[in-house]
């Protein structure tokens, strides 16, 4: 044998886990309430997936990024709130621009972009205020070819049902306010490109219009609820209802405290973060199910053992595997945190936290819930009940 296996913990531990359940309850309640309050007061740092907006990754053509200079240049463009952060290394930055509203300023911006990209003779003006209409004026007569080419320069796509007719150099495009807001995303991207394009390379651009953002938010919330519900129902069917409720409480605990982590660290809450949330819910229940499985087995074997003792016994019996399974995932996720790059950073940090908190909640939340849900009330022996009360 090359080397001997190492037991992660010595066999037959006898920790009184559930004796500490009041303390755990206090700790978890505090963390969760703080998470909830934090999320409500400070809000989550929603990424553009949910908020809508623009994210551009730029790299300085020479030297490092000057964030302050960049911030003041872009802040003066009239495209709303712009936030910047270094991304990965000192010559790369992530620029985030808020969701565009489709206001008059946007049309003025479109005018600037049009003049720069299609020529000084062009101009763009808003139509009547009660519509989202936009009016394009060409330097000379409009024909369908130069018109199409020109509007594509300001990011308008395929509006050919509204081609100008007859001998004119003015074309009006009918738009609702909502449609104009979607288009203004394009205008803002062009404006940023025009403004800083000579000093920076554009490595990647992402734009999410107001409509999609709202939809993704909606389906994200449904996804979380559906996942938690489906898993709880599965556990309920495989075990008993108390186990299902215990699992649900443990998952809610993990999800909520992960949200708290996002608030605390101001991490970007994007679609990948949502994926992390769902994965944490699914994964944290792994350990829980392993403990539950043993509890169920021991309930059959030790018909007269009190619930707290039985739970403690089961947790101790499965402790090694709980720590091992979490350990393997922990080291894998650690590699993601360290080497996975900036795009996956929020996701990896959340997962790392999820692995830890999921292990904790399997023991102190899921199992403690079984005590409070009186999984085996009558079978507590009198002596056990007394010592219970004495402790309390």
């Amino acid at each position: 044998m090359l080397w001997r296996p190492h037991h992660l913990i010595r066999a037959h531990t006898k920790f009184d886990f559930l004796g500490k359940r009041k303390m755990a309850l206090f700790l978890s309640t505090t963390v969760n309430v703080l998470s909830l309050v934090g999320a409500l007061v400070f809000g989550l740092n929603f990424g553009i997936d949910f908020e809508g907006g623009i994210a551009v990754q730029v790299r300085a053509k020479e030297g490092t990024i000057h964030l302050d200079e960049l911030r003041s240049t872009l802040g003066a463009l009239g495209i709303g709130e712009v936030s910047l952060q270094e991304f990965g290394d000192a010559s790369t930055a992530l620029i985030r621009v808020q969701r565009q509203e489709g206001n008059a300023q946007c049309v003025a911006n479109a005018d600037r972009v049009m003049k720069r990209r299609a020529g000084d003779g062009w101009s763009v003006k808003p139509g009547p205020a009660d519509t989202g209409d936009v009016e394009f004026t060409a330097p000379s007569g409009l024909d369908s070819a130069n018109w199409r080419d020109a509007v594509s320069r300001v990011g308008l796509t395929a509006q050919e049902r509204q081609l100008p007719r007859g001998n004119t150099n003015i074309a009006r495009i009918d738009m609702t306010h909502d449609q104009r807001a979607e288009w203004c995303q394009q205008v803002a991207i062009k404006l940023v490109e025009d403004t800083i394009g000579d000093k920076y390379d554009f490595r990647g651009t992402e734009s999410v219009g107001p409509k999609i953002g709202a939809e993704l938010m909606h389906s994200g919330v449904i996804a979380v609820i559906a996942t938690l519900g489906a898993i709880a129902i599965y556990v309920w069917f495989r075990f008993e209802w108390q186990f299902g409720v215990g699992a649900l409480i443990a998952m809610l605990h993990d999800v909520l405290s992960t949200i708290g982590l996002f608030v605390l660290l101001r991490l970007d809450f994007s679609l990948t973060a949502l994926a992390a949330l769902l994965t944490i819910a699914g994964y944290s229940i792994n350990d829980t199910v392993v403990v539950f499985d043993r509890v169920r087995e021991n309930m059959r074997r030790y018909k007269k053992m009190g619930l707290v003792e039985l739970l403690n016994f089961s947790i101790n019996e499965t402790l090694a595997r709980t720590l091992m399974t979490s350990g393997t995932v922990f080291v894998a996720v650690l590699a993601l945190v360290l080497f996975g790059g900036p795009v996956l950073y929020s996701f990896s940090i959340a997962m790392l936290w999820g692995v830890i908190v999921g292990t904790y909640s399997s023991i102190w939340i899921a199992c403690a819930s079984l005590v409070y849900l009186k999984l085996r009330p009558e079978q507590l022996r009198p002596s056990e009940e007394k010592s219970e009360k004495a402790k309390a």
Binding site: M1, P5, D201, I212, T272, D287, D293, V343, L344
Partner: protein, 557 residues
């Protein structure tokens, strides 16, 4: 029982070998791959746009204004028909997005009015009472029309963005009114948007019959009003008989004019007047249909102009009965039907000896002038190739480091034998995931790589559950063989229960997620499914073989 039955062993080995076989093309060097059969070369995982670089657009079609336009046209026709049938009406208005409302002057004429409306379009849903009649399109009709608009838009987009046929864009319908457009390797989206906006140029010209009747189809000199344009049939013949000429035409820079093509390569050509009778932007719709039974029921193409187009077309056809009208799309004549009569109602038909397939093709070509609905970009994402390369690099490093750490951990805790078997099973599992993704043609995204790394960590978990159970059974004084057998048997429910919960999360994530997140859900779900096989049956096979070989008195776990 620990031992697998013979068929189980054979199944495990075959399955594993197949996994290796199908995963292999992903890592083989291109030089070697070239010598292998094509189907095998294609068994590779596609990289998602976030890894290979490219542009992704989500376009939304403005179906509401299409419907309104259609209702407006309907109100025009109804008004005209009521007048023709001498039904008095106060007003015909369009209730935006819903219906056309007719208000009659005299309630008594309601039956007559309904009859008139029936001749306009028998499929309309008619409601209302007294002097008010509401006309709406049926749900089926609206649904069909929506689908038509989107399908047609997709077809047109494909023609526009992939003229050369080399970019392999993904253009698919998403939901009710959206189109997903993905172009790998594209970075300049301004150019792409210009292409999307570029319509095929559809025009109607009269054929200069004087030159045709003079004999030669390509005379040396032409009057300045006339030019030569190749027919589509002629070009296709040329492509079949003289591929080199076809190639030269496609590659020519600057592009050859139609007349130059006719002169140089002599495909079938027609002399047409340069003056445009009607432009494609005035064509509202064209569809493949059939003549009525009395006339023979042949496949025909029917088309509709807007008001301006209708007037121009009426005047031109009235003056040129018996002559041919050439329909030119870009630089080819797709059809040159003979004008049978003046076509003045704004709509007409093209007859000829067509097959159904031909009429469908021709109708599609006619429609490919203009997009049927305004498309706006509601989501866009562009990833430069170097950003994608960075992502691939960091993803690969994270995956390798993660795998190494997990293997070290397993070896340290369960020793070289058990730890080694679990690690081997995990590696086979990753091969299975790669094979599965290759076969499914799934895309690997950056979140997908994160899913793979998670799978690495989670797939040894089932072995942990089994091994810990084996340790327990060993401590209970069981013999090595019995400890292994009982360990595998008793750990199974925990293994399945704990993985199914994670699978539930994975499947729901796939259902609700989009884009890169789907990639994450795919690799995670696939990994969890396949590892149920590797962690249980595969390691069991290894261990039972080892037990039979060494007949150990004590388990090194």
């Amino acid at each position: 029982m620990l031992n697998l039955q013979r068929w189980q062993t054979i199944a495990v080995i075959t399955f594993t070998a197949l996994a290796v076989l199908f995963a292999l093309p992903n890592v083989l060097p291109a030089s070697l791959l070239d010598h292998l059969p094509g189907w095998y070369q294609q068994s590779r995982i596609n990289l998602g746009l976030d890894l290979r670089g490219g542009a992704h657009f989500l376009l939304e079609a403005d179906l509401r204004s299409v419907l309104n336009e259609r209702l407006t046209n309907l109100s025009d026709s109804v008004r005209a028909e009521l007048r023709k049938q001498q039904v008095g009406f106060k007003d015909v208005t369009v209730d935006n997005g819903r219906a056309v409302v007719v208000t009659l002057r005299d309630e008594a004429q309601r039956a007559k009015a309904l009859e008139a409306i029936h001749t306009v379009d028998p499929s309309l849903a008619v409601s209302g009472s007294g002097d008010a009649i509401q006309l709406a399109y049926s749900d089926q009709d609206l649904f069909r029309r929506k689908k038509e608009v989107i399908d047609q838009s997709i077809e047109i987009l494909r023609r526009r963005v992939d003229e050369t046929g080399t970019i392999e864009p993904t253009i698919v319908r998403e939901g009710d009114d959206r189109i997903l457009l993905q172009m790998p390797g594209i970075k300049d989206t301004t150019d792409l948007k210009r292409k999307i906006n570029q319509t095929a140029k559809l025009t109607f010209h009269l054929v200069n019959e004087d030159i045709v009747s003079a004999g030669s189809s390509a005379p040396a000199t032409l009057p300045p009003t006339t030019s030569l344009v190749p027919t589509r049939e002629g070009m296709q013949q040329l492509r079949a008989t003289n591929p080199k000429a076809w190639d030269d035409i496609q590659k020519a820079d600057p592009k050859l004019s139609p007349e130059q093509i006719c002169r140089r390569f002599q495909p079938q050509c027609l002399p047409v007047f340069k003056r445009v009778v009607v432009g494609g932007e005035d064509l509202d719709d064209a569809k493949a249909t059939f003549e009525n039974q009395q006339s023979g029921g042949r496949p025909i193409i029917s088309f509709t102009f807007n008001a301006a187009g209708g007037r121009a077309f009426c005047a031109a056809t009235r003056a040129n009965i018996g002559k041919r009208l050439a329909i030119q799309l870009d630089n080819e004549i797709i059809s040159a039907p003979v004008v049978q009569s003046a076509i003045c109602g704004g709509s007409g038909i093209i007859t000829g000896s067509f097959t159904t397939q031909q009429t469908q093709e021709q109708a599609l070509l006619l429609r490919s002038g203009a997009l049927p609905a305004t498309l706006s970009i509601i989501q866009e994402s562009t990833v430069g190739a170097d950003l994608g390369a960075d992502a691939i690099h960091s993803g690969t490093v994270a995956a390798l480091v993660g795998t190494a750490l997990v293997i070290l951990f397993m070896l340290a805790v369960y020793g070289p034998l058990f730890g080694g078997f679990a690690s081997l099973a995990m590696i086979v599992n990753m091969l299975l995931v790669f094979a599965g993704m290759s076969i499914l043609g799934a895309s690997l995204t950056l979140p997908g790589i994160a899913g793979l790394v998670l799978t690495v960590g989670m797939s040894v978990d089932s072995n942990v559950l089994i091994y810990e159970r084996v340790r327990e059974e060993k401590e209970n004084g069981r013999s090595p063989f019995s400890a292994l057998a009982t360990g595998y048997e008793r750990a199974l429910t925990a293994v399945i229960d704990s993985n199914l919960t994670a699978l539930i999360a994975g499947v729901l994530l796939f259902g609700f997620g989009s884009g890169p997140i789907r990639g994450f859900a795919t690799s995670l779900t696939l990994g969890l499914l396949t590892h149920l096989f590797t962690a249980t049956i595969f390691t069991r096979m290894l261990l039972s073989a080892w037990v039979r070989w060494r007949r150990p008195t004590e388990l090194p776990i």
